[in-house]
C-alpha cells in the first residue's frame, strides 16, 4: 500500500472531525455574535454585547480569576508532588514498578464525582473517620468544605496521575549513561539532577502541566462539590447559563478554547522535537 492509499484511510476520521469539532466550533463563533432563542435563528439579532459588556461583567472576571487560580495552583502542586513521585518510581530498583504505576492510576477508574463527594464528606466536621475515631478520643474534624483549600486538594487528587505518568515515562526512557557522563565530568548527584535529569525531563513536565491545567481550568464539578458552590468558575457560569443564554455560553467557550490553544501553541514552540506526548 502506498502512502496515498494509506492517506485515504484517514477519510472517515476527517469526516467525523469536521462534523463533531469544526462545525460545532463554527456554530459557537456564529452564535456568539447573535442573540437567539436556543440554537434557533428565528428572530435572531446581531449583537456584540457578548463580547463586550457581558465578557467584562464582574462575575465573569471573578470566574476567570478563580479558574486561573485553581488551575494554576493545582498544576504547581501536582508538579511538586508528582515529579518526586515519578522520579522515585523511575529510579527505584523495585522489581514491579508497573504495580505501583497501576496503583496510581486505579483511582482514575472510579468516577471522579464519586471520589470528590467522598472527599467532601471527609472535609465535613461530621465525617465518617471522625465518627469512627471520636470514641477513642481522637478528633478528625476538618471542616474544610467550602474553602479554596478543599477545592485545590480535590483537584490535586483528581489530576495527579496526569503528571506522574508523562514524567515517569520520560525519566524511565532516559539514557542512564548521560547521568554517568555528568558524574564523570565532576557534577555531584544534586548538580547532575539540575543540569541533566531535570532539563531532559522538562518535556514530560510540560505535558503533565498542560494535562493538569486544562481540565482543572475548564471543569466545574470539583469546585462545585468541594466549594459548596461558593466559587464561581468559568465552567460553572457555562453550566448555569446554558439553558437561557446560549450565545454568551458560546463566547465563554471560545475564550476557553483560545486559552487552551494558546497554551498548546506555547508548548509546541518550546517542545520543538515533539518528543513528548502532545
Amino acid at each position: 500500500m502506498n502512502i496515498k492509499k494509506l492517506g485515504r484511510l484517514s477519510t472517515p476520521y476527517l469526516v467525523w472531525l469536521s462534523m463533531l469539532v469544526l462545525v460545532p466550533l463554527l456554530m459557537m463563533i456564529v452564535l456568539s455574535f447573535f442573540r437567539t432563542r436556543g440554537v434557533s435563528f428565528v428572530n435572531a439579532a446581531f449583537t456584540l454585547e457578548n463580547w463586550s459588556t457581558r465578557l467584562i461583567d464582574r462575575s465573569v472576571q471573578v470566574a476567570l480569576m478563580n479558574s486561573f487560580q485553581f488551575a494554576g495552583t493545582t498544576a504547581v502542586i501536582v508538579f511538586l508532588v508528582g515529579y518526586p513521585m515519578a522520579y522515585i518510581l523511575a529510579r527505584s530498583s523495585f522489581a514491579n514498578k508497573f504495580v505501583i504505576l497501576v496503583l496510581t492510576i486505579i483511582p482514575m477508574w472510579s468516577n471522579s464525582l464519586l471520589r470528590n463527594n467522598a472527599l467532601r464528606n471527609l472535609f465535613l466536621s461530621q465525617n465518617i473517620v471522625n465518627d469512627l475515631l471520636s470514641p477513642l478520643g481522637i478528633s478528625f474534624a476538618w471542616n474544610l468544605t467550602g474553602t479554596k483549600l478543599a477545592v485545590i486538594i480535590g483537584l490535586v487528587l483528581t489530576y495527579l496521575p496526569f503528571m506522574v505518568l508523562p514524567v515517569y515515562t520520560v525519566l524511565e526512557k532516559m539514557d542512564k549513561s548521560l547521568l554517568e557522563a555528568s558524574m564523570d565530568l565532576g557534577a555531584n548527584k544534586i548538580r547532575t539532577f539540575f543540569k541533566v535529569t531535570f532539563p531532559l525531563s522538562f518535556k514530560g513536565v510540560l505535558t503533565g502541566f498542560i494535562m493538569v491545567f486544562l481540565p482543572s481550568f475548564s471543569g466545574f464539578a470539583v469546585p462545585y462539590i468541594l466549594g459548596k458552590g461558593t466559587f464561581v468558575v468559568v465552567g460553572s457560569i457555562i453550566e448555569t447559563s446554558y439553558n437561557y443564554n446560549i450565545n454568551f455560553v458560546s463566547t465563554l467557550s471560545i475564550v476557553l478554547v483560545a486559552i487552551i490553544f494558546l497554551l498548546i501553541f506555547t508548548v509546541s514552540k518550546v517542545d520543538k522535537e515533539g518528543e513528548s506526548f502532545l
Binding site: 564523570d184 565530568l185 555531584n188
Partner: protein, 349 residues
Amino acid sequence: MGRKLIDLKGITKLYDGEAVVDNIDLYVNENEFITLLGPSGCGKTTTLRMIGGFEKPDAGDIILNGVKVNDIPPYERPINTVFQRYALFPHLNVFDNIAFGLRNQKVPKEEIEERVTAALKLVSMPQYAYRKVTLLSGGQMQRIAIARAIVNRPKILLLDEPLAALDLKLRQNMQYELKEMQRKLGITFIYVTHDQEEALTMSDTIVVMNKGKIQQIGTPTGIYNEPKNRFVATFIGESNILTGTYVRPNVVSFMGVEFACVDTHFEPGETVDVVIRPEDLDLIDPEGARLTGIVTSSVFKGVHFELCAVVQDKEFIIHTYENRAVGTKVGLKVDAYEIHLMKVEQSEH
C-alpha cells in the same frame, strides 16, 4: 615508562553471585596506553567502570596515586571517560557539552572559552562550537566526546569501545589520531575493546581477559609472538594449535615428527600446546618434506591467499603469496624460531 599511577589489587566484582571480574591484579603506569582486550562478557568493561567509579568492587582495592579510591564517587576522581555510545547531552550544544566539566569545577569564564576552543581544535572541529549535538554524525559525536573528556585534563582517560560504532575507514583513522593525541597530551589511556587489531595498533600494553580473569599482560608483539595459552593464541590473530611433546631442550615432537624449536624451559616428556601462525608456514616441495598435506580450499584475501591443507587428518591454515590449486599435494616447513610452545592448561576444554 613512568611511575605507577593506578594499581588494582585483587579486584573482584560479583553479579548475582557470579564473578564477572575474578580477583585481578593490574597496574598502569603514567603516560601508558593500555588496552583491556577480550570477548564480550570477559569483564573488561566492568573493570573500566570500577576504575571510573561507576561500580564498586566486591573485594580488593583500587589505588590511585597511592590513595585507596574504592569509595570515592566518580565526580571526585581525576578520571574522565569516553562512553561507548558517546553520551553527549542532547539538550546542550557542542560548546556547552565540552564546557560541562569545566563549569562544574568553577573555572573562570575566559579560561573555559580558551580551553574549549583548544579542545575543539585538537579534535579538528573548531567550526562546530555552536552546533546541536543531535545533528552531528557518529564520527563527529565521537570527537566531541573525546574533547569533552580531555578538556578537563584528567590523569587517566577511560575509553569504552569508543570506535565500535564507526565504519572501518573512520575507525582506522581515529586509531592513529587517538594514539597521536595520547602521545601529545601525555595522559594515561585505558582503552577497552574486543577488536584485537585495534589493540595491537594502538597499545603500549595489552591486557587479554577472558571470563573475568587476566590471561596475559604484555606488549603487542610479545602477546602476538608468545601467547601464554590457547585462549590468547586463538583470540589474537589466527593460529594453528597442535598438541605435541617436549622431547628435550630445543626439540619438540608433533604429528609424529621431531622439530627444532627455541624453547628450553619444559620438562622432557611434557605434553605441550604448539602454536604456529599461518604466515609462518612455508610451502615447499612435498619430496623430502617432513609434513605433507592436500590443499582443501583456497581463498584470496587481498594481500595473501588463505589455504587450508589437511595433514594427517589435522587441518592447517596457511597464509601464502603463491596460490596452490585445491587437491594439490604440498609440503610444509616451519622454522625453529617460529614454533611457539605453551603450557597445557588443565582448566581449558
